[in-house]
C-alpha cells in the first residue's frame, strides 16, 4: 500500500465513539397515522387498493395481478435455501402504508415524524455534504425526493417508481421487468405484485453524474413489508453512482423487505450501485438485484450486508455486449442469530467480457454466512475472464460458513480463477491486541476491519467510514 496513513479513510476512526447511521440510532419508531393502509394479508383486493391509490394505468394493474398468480404458484425455495423462510407469515403482513403518493421537494414540507426520523438518521446532512440527490422512502412511499438543479438540468431523471410510472411511462415500460422477469423467483414475483417506491433513474447519453444519488429506505411500521422497486438506466456513455441505505426499528415480530433492483447500462455506460444495509435482526431481507451490461459497459455492485435475521441476495450482471465488465464486491457480517446468504451471479453472454467477484464474510458467535455464486461462461464465447475470491473469517468456534461457488466455464478460449480462504480470529490474536490496551470488542472490530480492509478501500470514503462504524457497533454487541 502506497497510501500514507494520514489519508487512510477507513482507519481514521478506529476507536472513535460510534455515531452516524447505526442500529442503535435506527432503533426507534414513530406512531404515524397512515392515511393509506391496504390492511393485513395479500389478495387481489390488496393489489386493487395499491393500484387505485397510485392511480395506475391498466397495464400495471394487470402486471401486478399476473405477478400475484406467479407468486402464489411458486413454492418456497427451501429445497436449497434455509427452512427459516417458512416462518414468514404472508397473511400477517401489511403490504402498503403511506401518508400520500407524492414526495415533498423540501425537508420543511415533510411531516414532522417522518422528517425527525431522517434527521436522526443523518440523511439531510449527508445530502448537503456530498450527494447529487436524495430520495427518502418511509414505509411504502418516498416522503422526500430531491435532485440538485445542476444534475436535473443535464436531463437526469431521479424519481420514485410511483411518480416515474405517471410521468415517464414510455421509458419505464421499455425497461421495466426486462432484467428481472416476474417469475425469476418467488420473491421477485411478490415484489412485482405489490411494489411501491424505490428509485427510477435515467441518465441521458454521455452524462456523467459526478456526485452520487442516494436513496434511503426506512421501515417504521410493525408487521410491515417493504417492496421497493428500483430501475436505473444509464444511456450510452453515461455514468452514475447510486447508494442506498436501509434501517428499521427492532420489533418483536418479523418484518419483510423484498426489493427488486434492475440496472441497464447501455453501450459504454458505467453504473456503480452501493448498498450499506443495517437491518434490525427481525428483518427477512430477500432481494433480487441484477444488471445488464451492454457493449463496453460496466456494472459494479458494492454490497455490504450487516444485520437482518436472514438476508438472501445475489447481485448479478448479465454481460450482454462485447467487452462488458461486471463486478461484485460483497461484505457480509453475520452476528448471533443472523444468517447472511449472499453471493453473486455473472452471466457471460458475449465475447471478451470480464467479471470479478470478491466476497468476504464474517461470522460471529452463532452467526452463519453462506456464499453462493454462479459464474456462467458458455462454450461458444471467447476471451472471457472471471476472477472469484471468497474469504471467510470466523470469530468464535460456533460460527458457521459455507461456500457454494458454481463456476461453469466451457470452451478453451476463456479463463477463470477461483480462490477461497477461511481464517479465524484466534484467542491469541485477541489477547495480543488486548495486551496493547484495546478492549475485547475493539480487538475483534480491528480484526474484522483488517480482514475487509483491502476491499473497503475501494469504497467511496463516506461509505467505508460508515461501514467501519457499523462493524464496531456489531462487535460491541457481540461480547458480553
Amino acid at each position: 500500500m502506497s497510501q500514507s496513513p494520514e489519508t487512510d479513510a477507513l482507519d481514521t476512526t478506529i476507536v472513535n465513539p460510534v455515531v452516524g447511521i447505526d442500529q442503535t440510532a435506527g432503533n426507534f419508531s414513530y406512531d404515524v397515522d397512515y392515511e393509506f393502509d391496504a390492511g393485513t394479508g395479500l389478495s387481489e383486493r390488496t393489489i386493487d387498493y395499491i393500484s387505485s391509490v397510485k392511480k395506475e394505468a391498466p397495464w400495471i394493474r394487470e402486471f401486478r395481478m399476473n405477478a400475484l398468480k406467479t407468486f402464489q404458484s411458486k413454492p418456497m425455495p427451501t429445497h436449497w435455501a434455509t427452512k427459516d423462510l417458512e416462518n414468514i407469515n404472508f397473511d400477517k403482513i401489511r403490504y402498503y402504508l403511506s401518508q400520500g403518493q407524492k414526495p415533498k421537494r423540501t425537508w420543511d414540507e415533510v411531516p414532522d415524524d417522518i422528517k425527525n426520523t431522517f434527521e436522526r438518521l443523518g440523511i439531510p446532512e449527508q445530502e448537503r455534504k456530498f450527494l447529487a440527490g436524495v430520495e427518502a422512502q418511509f414505509d411504502s412511499e418516498a416522503a422526500y425526493s430531491n435532485i440538485k438543479d445542476i444534475v436535473s438540468k443535464q436531463g437526469v431523471i431521479f424519481a420514485n417508481s410511483t411518480e416515474a410510472l405517471r410521468e415517464h411511462p414510455e421509458i419505464f415500460k421499455k425497461f421495466f421487468g426486462k432484467v428481472i422477469p416476474t417469475g425469476d423467483n418467488k420473491f421477485s414475483a411478490l415484489n412485482s405484485a405489490v411494489f411501491s417506491g424505490g428509485s427510477f433513474i435515467y441518465v441521458p447519453k454521455g452524462v456523467k453524474v459526478s456526485q452520487p444519488l442516494q436513496a434511503y429506505f426506512r421501515i417504521n411500521a410493525e408487521n410491515f413489508g417493504q417492496f421497493e422497486r428500483t430501475l436505473i438506466i444509464a444511456d450510452e456513455g453515461a455514468e452514475l453512482t447510486y447508494m442506498e441505505g436501509c434501517t428499521a426499528p427492532k420489533f418483536s415480530t418479523s418484518t419483510l423487505h423484498s426489493a427488486v433492483v434492475e440496472l441497464v447500462a447501455l453501450k459504454g455506460a458505467k453504473i456503480q450501485y452501493i448498498t450499506v444495509q443495517n437491518w434490525a435482526n427481525n428483518v427477512f431481507n430477500l432481494v433480487t438485484k441484477r444488471g445488464v451490461a451492454h457493449e463496453e459497459a460496466e456494472i459494479k455492485w458494492i454490497d455490504c450486508n450487516i444485520g437482518s435475521r436472514l438476508t438472501m441476495k445475489y447481485p448479478g450482471v448479465v454481460l450482454k455486449g462485447r467487452k462488458a465488465r461486471g463486478e461484485v464486491l460483497s461484505i457480509a457480517l453475520a452476528n448471533d442469530g443472523q444468517h447472511q446468504d449472499t453471493g453473486a451471479k455473472m452471466i457471460h453472454a458475449a465475447d471478451e467480457t470480464t467479471s470479478n467477484i470478491i466476497a468476504k464474510s464474517i461470522s460471529v458467535g452463532q452467526g452463519r454466512s453462506t456464499y453462493r455464486g454462479v459464474v456462467h461462461i458458455p462454450k461458444h464465447l471467447k476471451g472471457c475472464k472471471n476472477n472469484t475470491e471468497c474469504d471467510a473469517l470466523l470469530i468464535n468456534t460456533n460460527s458457521r460458513t459455507d461456500t457454494y461457488p458454481a463456476i461453469t466455464v466451457r470452451g478453451d478460449r476463456n479463463a477463470t480463477q477461483h480462490e477461497a480462504s477461511v481464517s479465524k480470529v484466534s484467542a491469541e490474536q485477541i489477547f495480543y491486541m488486548q495486551q496493547r490496551g484495546l478492549t475485547e470488542a475493539q480487538a475483534m472490530s480491528l480484526s474484522v476491519n483488517g480482514f475487509i480492509n483491502d476491499l473497503a478501500r475501494q469504497f467511496p470514503m463516506e461509505y467505508s467510514v460508515e461501514l467501519k462504524r457499523l462493524i464496531d457497533l456489531e462487535m460491541e454487541g457481540s461480547v458480553g
Binding site: F431, Y432, Q435, R436, G450
Partner: protein, 253 residues
C-alpha cells in the same frame, strides 16, 4: 515511583501447576533479568501477569502501586501501565502498525478525547528514528510476514509508543541473529530510564551483554532460587544450569 510487586504467585495451566510461589518486586527504573532453563515457568509467569485467559492464578498477588491487578481484564492491565513484549507476537492481517498503535494510543485517552493525528505521527516518527526503523515499516500489517527480527522490533516500537511503567520482555532475544539482537538491545537501552521498570526473561546470557541488568534472578521449577547482580549471569554462563541444580539439591539436603 511506581512498583510492581509479585507476591508468592502460583499459576496453573489446566490442572498443572507451573509457577510455584514466585516473588519479586520491581521498581520503575530497575532492570531485572530472569534466567532459567526451558520449562521452568518463565513465559507462564509473564503471560499470567498480563492476564492471559489460559493461565489460572491459583494463589498469590500481583500489585501495581499497591493495587491488585488480578481482577482486571488484560486490556485494563495494559492501560494501567503493563506491557508484555511477546516471544511469539500474533499477526493481525490487514491492520497496519500505524493504525494499530493509533487505536492503542486512543484507548488510553479519556472518553470523548480526540487523538491529535498530527502529533501522533510526529511522535511515532520520532520513536522510529530513535529505534532506527524505516518509515515504510508502519504501513505494513502487524507481524504479517515479518521476519523474527522485524517482529521483535515491532514489539519494541509498540513499547516505545505506549510508554508503559513496567515491561515484561519474554525471550526477546529468541530467534534473533547477532545484528538483530544488537538493534533490539539498542532500542531497549534507549528507553531505559527512571520511568520504566523492566523484567527481561531470557534463556541465554548473551542478551545481557547488550542490556546490562541491575539484578539477575535464576528461576527453577516455578520460583526464584538465586538472586544477584550481573555477575550471576556470567557465573551461570560459565557453570551452566546444572550448577544451580546441584546447589539447590545441596541446600535441600
Amino acid at each position: 515511583m511506581s512498583q510492581l510487586e509479585i507476591k508468592n504467585l502460583h499459576v496453573a495451566i489446566g490442572e498443572k501447576e507451573i509457577v510455584k510461589g514466585f516473588s519479586l518486586t520491581i521498581r520503575q527504573g530497575e532492570v531485572h533479568a530472569i534466567m532459567g532453563p526451558n520449562g521452568t515457568g518463565k513465559s507462564t509467569l509473564s503471560k499470567a501477569i498480563a492476564g492471559h485467559p489460559d493461565y489460572t492464578i491459583t494463589s498469590g498477588e500481583v500489585l501495581l502501586d499497591g493495587q491488585s491487578i488480578l481482577s482486571l481484564e488484560p486490556d485494563a492491565r495494559a492501560r494501567a501501565g503493563l506491557f508484555l513484549a511477546f516471544q511469539y507476537p500474533s499477526e493481525v492481517p490487514g491492520v497496519s502498525i500505524a493504525n494499530f498503535l493509533r487505536a492503542a494510543v486512543q484507548a488510553r485517552m479519556a472518553e470523548g478525547e480526540e487523538l491529535d493525528a498530527t502529533a501522533y505521527y510526529k511522535r511515532l516518527y520520532s520513536k522510529m528514528d530513535l529505534l532506527k526503523i524505516d518509515r515504510k515499516f508502519t504501513s505494513r500489517a502487524i507481524n504479517d510476514g515479518f521476519s523474527g527480527g522485524e517482529k521483535k522490533r515491532c514489539e519494541i516500537l509498540q513499547m516505545a509508543m505506549l510508554e508503559p511503567k513496567f515491561a515484561l520482555m519474554d525471550e526477546t532475544d529468541s530467534g534473533l541473529d547477532i545484528d538483530a539482537l544488537r538493534i533490539v538491545a539498542d532500542g531497549v537501552n534507549a528507553m531505559r530510564g527512571t520511568n520504566l521498570g523492566m523484567l527481561l526473561i531470557t534463556h541465554y546470557q548473551r542478551l545481557l551483554d547488550y542490556i546490562v541488568p541491575d539484578y539477575v534472578h535464576v528461576m527453577w521449577d516455578g520460583r526464584i532460587v538465586k538472586s544477584g547482580d550481573k555477575s550471576l549471569a556470567l557465573e551461570l554462563e560459565a557453570k551452566g544450569y546444572d550448577w544451580v541444580k546441584t546447589e539447590l539439591a545441596a541446600a535441600n539436603a
